[in-house]
Structures are given as structure tokens and as C-alpha cells.
């Protein structure tokens, strides 16, 4: 037990110290403020919980807020947990040391999961925590509900975390063999995530046989059972917070059972997955011939930056997922019948088609904060380009070009796919392209200023570099602010036509892009030179 505590303590300390180091803020007060910045995400979470609470209160079932949010929370945790688990188990640099320590395999697996638990608990605090607090306080303080709610919140990450681990570890050992293992890891995980979302959509669809619905609604807590019937822990958790000891016991027992299952399989998973995967990684793989070919400096540097993303499954998965979320959601909702092609051809939706198309095409720019981690992704290899005879300006420029190439590729794919389904005309495509170019240029350029200001080069796992990195939060905050200004502009121009509005918004982002050029090359070039790897 002592070894487990010691190993877990060091993992958690490492997790938190990396996080605070990543903040890279010298001023103490500013440091605390920056640490609290992600807490801003709680605002939309509160809004969501309040809306749900009001809706369910109107029909007399406020507790369904908890049921609904718990189900969504579990799916979100599965979604967020999978790449994180892959990163800390398979691409973390500390496994080589940990593997040599005299500790049992299950101790290693559980201690590694400690940081995943904290990460998922933070997600849980935003959504489930907010709904528990709202449920326990809004119509008078319910002390018991609050205490049980906090207990449920603390337990809530266990189930999705262990399920993810039990799926991911054997899955990775299976696909992590052979020459194309990185590609298999990407494709495999995309399929896995698609399955998880697909299952979620199927589970949350309330499309049952009318008889079954009537049967469920006729029972006490019928609506609760209707919503939670595909995932009973959500019913147990809801009733636990309402004070049911039996349901509370069931919920806790289920989580304990999963811990026991993981403990039973930990040794097998460790030797079959972790050791095997790491062993395979050291195999010599020969491919191609020795060649002597000259390329321009720009192409070489851009090729290198693209290869940094494509060679690391965590980086690539993160990039692909953030850019192609619309496609993934569209395909899955179409397959599960949530969305039909007729909807887009309806008259009601016609005035908004241009906006939908423009947003879909611009998703890579809006969702993908690639430039905000362009320097960080290099990690300790950052020194390489610093000693080469290329100027700091070019060094920055090629990083931005890399983001532009990746984002525009994503936009073109999305644009073609969306044009196939949406009734768009040539003018719409042109305007969407203008908006997409303007936003891509602006965000790709300004994001690098964030990374120059906060370059994180000493990371122990790729997730720390591209996901658990405050740069991403700052980059998203920038998008929220510019999006807010854009929305205000839209409101001011609401009497104008959609084409004009998109034209003006594109011009707005072009102006921002010119300002961003001045900021990056005028102010941040010097700071780039001062980055010490």
C-alpha cells in the first residue's frame, strides 16, 4: 500500500507541477488568476444546468437534471479519457523508469490512473458538480442531497475511467503491433471514439416502442426510468442524491466491482499491452532507400512540422478530432437517424444554410488551435531549428504556414463534404471560402503569439503538450471574445442580407489578421529568440 501511495503521490505531484509549470507566469497573483482561467468554463455549464433544471422542474422532475447531466458526463469522460489514457500509458516517458521499480503491475496501472481520475474529476466538477449544487440549493438548501451529491461526484469518474482503461489497453496491444502501428492507433481510436459517440446517441434516443414507453411512464419514477433505462447507474445516482440508501449502495457497489475487475486484469493488461507496446516500439524498421534530394528550406521546415504531428498519435488524433468533429457528428447522427437529408432542404432552414456551411468550412480554424502549440509540440528538440541558419521570422513563419496548410486541407475536405449534403450555390461557397480564409489566417497567426509567450518544452506526455495546456484555453478564450464581437456585428447588421454580413465579418477578420501580423512579427519575434529550450 505504501508503494502505491508513494507512486500515486509522485504521479499526482508530477501532474500538478507540470500544470503549474505550464502556466509559466512569474507574478504570483497573475499565476493564481491564470490557474483559475479554465474555471470560466463553468459559466456555460451553469447555464446548461439551469436551463435543464427549469425545464424538468416545470414537469415536476427536477432530479432529472442530474440523470441527464450524469449520462452526458459519463460519455464526455469516456471521450476525453481515451486519448488521455493512451497518452499516459503508451506515450509517456516515465514508464521506462516505473517498469524497473519493485512494484506490482496493478500498482503501476492504478497509480497511473490517478492523474486520469483528477482530470476526469475536473470535467465532472464543471457539469455534474454544477448540477448537484443547483439541485441541492436552488429551491432551498438540501444538506443531505449536497453531501451525497459530492460523494457521487467523487465516485463518478471511476466508471468511465475503468471502462476506458479496460477497452483501451487490450485494444492498443492488438493494434499496436506491426509496422504501421501509429496509423493503426489513429484509425483504431477514431473508430473507438465513433463507437462511443454512436452508443451514446443510441442510448439517449428516446425512440422506443410506444407500449414500452407507456409501461415505463405508468410506473413511479417512470420518466427517470425512461431516460436512464439504457444506463441504470444514472438512475441509481439520481436516487442516491435524493437520499435512497439502496440506490446509493448499488451505485457504490458497481464502482467497487469495476475497481476489482480492473485489479484482477491489471497484471495481464500490463504485460500484454504496456510492455508489449513499448517493446515493439524499439524494433528496427527499415523502409525505403538512401536518397540524396534537394528541397527548399521552407519545404523542409514545413515537412518537419507536419511530420511532428503525423508521427505522434496523440498529436494527430487531437488534430484530426478537433477538425473533423462536424463530419463525425454528421455521419453518426445520420446513421442513428437523428438527422435526415430532408432537414437541410426544408424552407425553415434555407436562410441559415449559408451560415451553417460557412461555420462547417471554418471549423478547422475555429476549433483547431494548432499554432498555440506549434513550438510546444517540438518539446526538447526545439533547439534544432534554433542553431540552424534560418531567421527567427522564417522560423515563426513556417510554423504558421504549417497550421495554414493543415487547416486549409481540413476546410477543403469539410467544404466538399458539406457541399454534397447542403443546398449551397457558387456565391455561398465563395463567401464561405472568404470567411474561412480570413479566420484561418487570423487564428493561425495570433495563436503562435500565445505559444511564444508561453512555450512549454519539457513535457512528459504528449497530452500535456496539446491538451492539458493552458495555451489551448487561452486560444479558445480568444475565439470566444472574437466570436462575441462577431456576434455583436451580426446583430448590428441583422437588417442586411446574409451575404453582406458574411462579407463584412470576413473583412473584420482580415483586419484582425493584419493586426496579428504586426503583433507576431513586430513584438513576438524578439521573444521567440529568447525562448530557452
Amino acid at each position: 500500500m505504501n508503494k502505491f501511495i508513494a507512486l500515486t503521490k509522485i504521479q499526482i505531484k508530477d501532474f500538478f507541477s507540470k500544470y503549474t509549470q505550464h502556466l509559466n507566469v512569474k507574478n504570483k497573483f497573475l499565476g493564481i488568476l491564470t490557474m483559475l482561467l479554465p474555471a470560466l468554463l463553468i459559466l456555460p455549464a451553469i447555464q446548461l444546468a439551469l436551463t435543464l433544471y427549469d425545464s424538468f422542474s416545470m414537469i415536476g422532475y427536477p432530479e432529472l437534471t442530474i440523470t441527464y447531466i450524469y449520462i452526458a458526463n459519463v460519455m464526455l469522460m469516456l471521450f476525453a479519457g481515451i486519448p488521455f489514457i493512451i497518452s499516459i500509458f503508451f506515450y509517456s516517458k516515465d514508464l521506462r523508469l516505473i517498469a524497473t521499480l519493485p512494484v506490482k503491475e496493478d500498482t503501476i496501472v492504478f497509480s497511473k490512473l490517478a492523474s486520469v481520475y483528477i482530470y476526469l474529476l475536473a470535467i465532472g466538477c464543471f457539469f455534474l458538480g454544477t448540477s448537484v449544487v443547483i439541485y441541492g440549493t436552488i429551491d432551498g438548501v438540501k444538506v443531505l442531497s449536497l453531501i451525497l451529491g459530492i460523494m457521487a461526484l467523487l465516485i463518478s469518474p471511476l466508471l468511465p475511467m475503468i471502462i476506458s482503461t479496460l477497452i483501451v489497453l487490450p485494444f492498443m496491444s492488438l493494434i499496436g503491433r506491426g509496422r504501421k502501428r501509429n496509423m493503426l492507433v489513429i484509425v483504431g481510436n477514431l473508430v473507438l471514439i465513433a463507437i462511443v459517440i454512436g452508443v451514446q446517441l443510441l442510448m439517449t434516443r428516446i425512440q422506443m416502442q410506444p407500449d414500452a414507453i407507456n409501461n415505463l411512464l405508468s410506473q413511479e419514477d417512470g420518466l427517470l426510468r425512461l431516460i436512464g433505462h439504457k444506463f441504470p447507474p444514472s438512475i441509481w445516482l439520481t436516487k442516491m442524491i435524493q437520499g435512497s440508501l439502496l440506490d446509493g449502495g448499488l451505485f457504490i457497489l458497481l464502482n467497487l466491482a469495476f475497481i476489482v475487475v480492473l485489479k484482477l486484469f491489471a497484471k495481464k493488461l500490463y504485460s500484454a499491452a504496456l510492455l508489449k507496446f513499448n517493446q515493439e516500439g524499439s524494433a528496427l524498421i527499415e523502409k525505403g532507400k538512401i536518397y540524396y534530394k534537394s528541397r527548399s528550406i521552407g519545404i523542409q521546415i514545413i515537412k518537419r512540422h507536419i511530420a511532428i504531428i503525423t508521427s505522434n498519435p496523440t498529436f494527430l488524433l487531437n488534430t484530426v478530432l478537433t477538425m473533423f468533429i462536424p463530419i463525425l457528428m454528421f455521419v453518426l447522427t445520420s446513421l442513428t437517424g437523428e438527422l435526415s437529408g430532408d432537414l437541410f432542404n426544408s424552407e425553415a432552414l434555407e436562410p441559415y444554410i449559408i451560415y451553417i456551411y460557412t461555420i462547417v468550412v471554418s471549423t478547422p480554424a475555429i476549433m483547431g488551435s494548432l499554432s498555440a502549440t506549434a513550438i510546444t509540440r517540438e518539446g526538447k528538440a526545439f533547439w534544432e531549428t534554433k542553431v540552424l541558419p534560418i531567421s527567427a521570422r522564417d522560423n515563426i513563419k513556417y510554423r504558421i504556414y504549417t497550421t495554414l496548410i493543415i487547416n486549409f486541407t481540413g476546410s477543403i475536405i469539410l467544404g466538399v463534404a458539406a457541399a454534397y449534403y447542403l443546398p449551397v450555390n457558387f456565391t455561398m461557397i465563395l463567401l464561405a471560402a472568404a470567411f474561412c480564409i480570413a479566420t484561418t489566417l487570423f487564428f493561425s497567426t495570433i495563436d503562435i503569439a500565445i505559444n511564444i509567450q508561453r512555450p512549454l518544452l519539457n513535457w512528459s506526455s504528449p497530452t500535456a503538450a496539446v491538451k492539458n495546456n493552458l495555451n489551448i484555453m487561452l486560444s479558445l478564450l480568444l475565439r470566444v471574445i472574437t466570436g462575441g464581437i462577431g456576434f455583436l456585428l451580426y446583430k448590428m447588421m441583422s437588417s442586411l442580407g446574409a451575404n453582406t454580413i458574411i462579407g463584412v465579418l470576413s473583412a473584420f477578420f482580415i483586419i484582425l489578421y493584419i493586426v496579428a501580423i504586426y503583433i507576431v512579427y513586430g513584438i513576438y519575434e524578439r521573444k521567440f529568440v529568447d525562448i530557452a529550450p
Binding site: 523502409k287 533547439w383 542553431v387
Partner: protein
Amino acid sequence: MLLVKNVSKVYDNKKKAVDNLSLEIKKGEIIGFIGPNGAGKTTTIRMITGIIAPTQGTIEINGIDISKEPVGAKKNFTFVPDHPTIFDAVKGIDYLNFIADIHEVPIQQRKERIERFTKAFQIYDALTQTINSYSHGMKQKLLVSGALLPNPNLFILDEPMVGLDPHSAKILKDIMRDHCQKGGTVFFSSHVLEVVENLCHRVAIIHRGKLIACDTLENIKKNSTATLEEIFLEMTKDE
């Protein structure tokens, strides 16, 4: 070839890692840079190579100030760090072509040099493999081969012997001598005092961020029969 004038590096306005260091290296020289752990060797080399900027002072490489004209200065040297941490998901040959392109080495010369150095270091057959499959020593040899590719005026190495097998260490020493005989300059740090003693024209000793000696071995010994190791230990011992 290399002129370091009154260079200091202060971290966080507190820790003075390098204190008013001045050093001049002439064309054709091999200079060994020695000092205890944490003396400031790597910080000095990182400033010379432009990885970090000095807090004060100037560094000129072949008459070009690296702060003012970094690209011009960097065209004159190549660098091998103390740890072979490079972007390693590419093949060895990709890395060498990358370095050759950045330093604009013509195809015929790069082919001849890549073959010469990688065959000498016995990594030629591994060039089609990805670098992350290389051992520490193989990565080190690849980095040295890459650094030699542009035939630099100044060849800077930080602890180059670490990780090299005796055969490769011997080859590297021969290459360094050969490079100087052809008019090149070599500046390297090392903890292996025998290498410094046998290879260098001059020795620079750094202690607690200050350069405490920079001279030929004979002048440093001052007619004594002591070895460089004994002199080094005496000069750097804590009062």
C-alpha cells in the same frame, strides 16, 4: 573565428550562470572547454550557438555578431549538443538531407560526405531506419555526421564523447584533427581530461561561471610535471 566579449548570463535576475566571460578562438585551433558540473559550460555554449541570448556582452562568429545577424553567424558553425534529443520520427537519411538543405550543401558533396561520415561511424546501413529506433550512441553519431555535412568553419560540440564507443571516439578525434588541419576550428566541452590534454591546442577552464584559465597546456602547467587532471582539480577546488 570565435570572439566572446564580456558575456554574462543571469537567470531570473538572480542566478549568474556565466559571469563576464571573454574568450577568443583563432582559425585552425582546437579548444577544449572544461569545468566542473554546473560551472557554466553548457550555458556558454548555448549562448555561442544562439540557443539562448546573453544577458550582456557580445558573441562574434567569423566577425558576425550572432545577436545582430543570427543567420549570417549560424552559417559559420554547426553544433552537436550534449544529449542527442532531436525530432526522431524521421529516418536517418531524412535528417541528413534536412541538415544539408538548410545549409545548402550541393547534392554531389552531400552524397560524398554522408557516405564518408556515416560509413566511418558505421551507421550507413541504419540510415533508412527511423531515428527513434537508434541507440544513444547511434543518435550521437548521426548528429555528428549531420554537423560535419556542411563542412563548417567552426565545429562546436558539447560533451561529444558521451555515448560513443571507443572506435567511434577515435574516429571523431581524428575528424576533429583533420578538420583543423584543413583550416577549420573546433570548440568542444568535455569531462574527459585525457581527450582534452591529447587533442587541444588550448584549454579553457570555467569555474562558477568565470573563465579562470585559457591557455596552452604548457602555459597552464607552468613547467610543473602535474597532469591536467591534477591542475584542474587544484584550480576548481572549493575554498
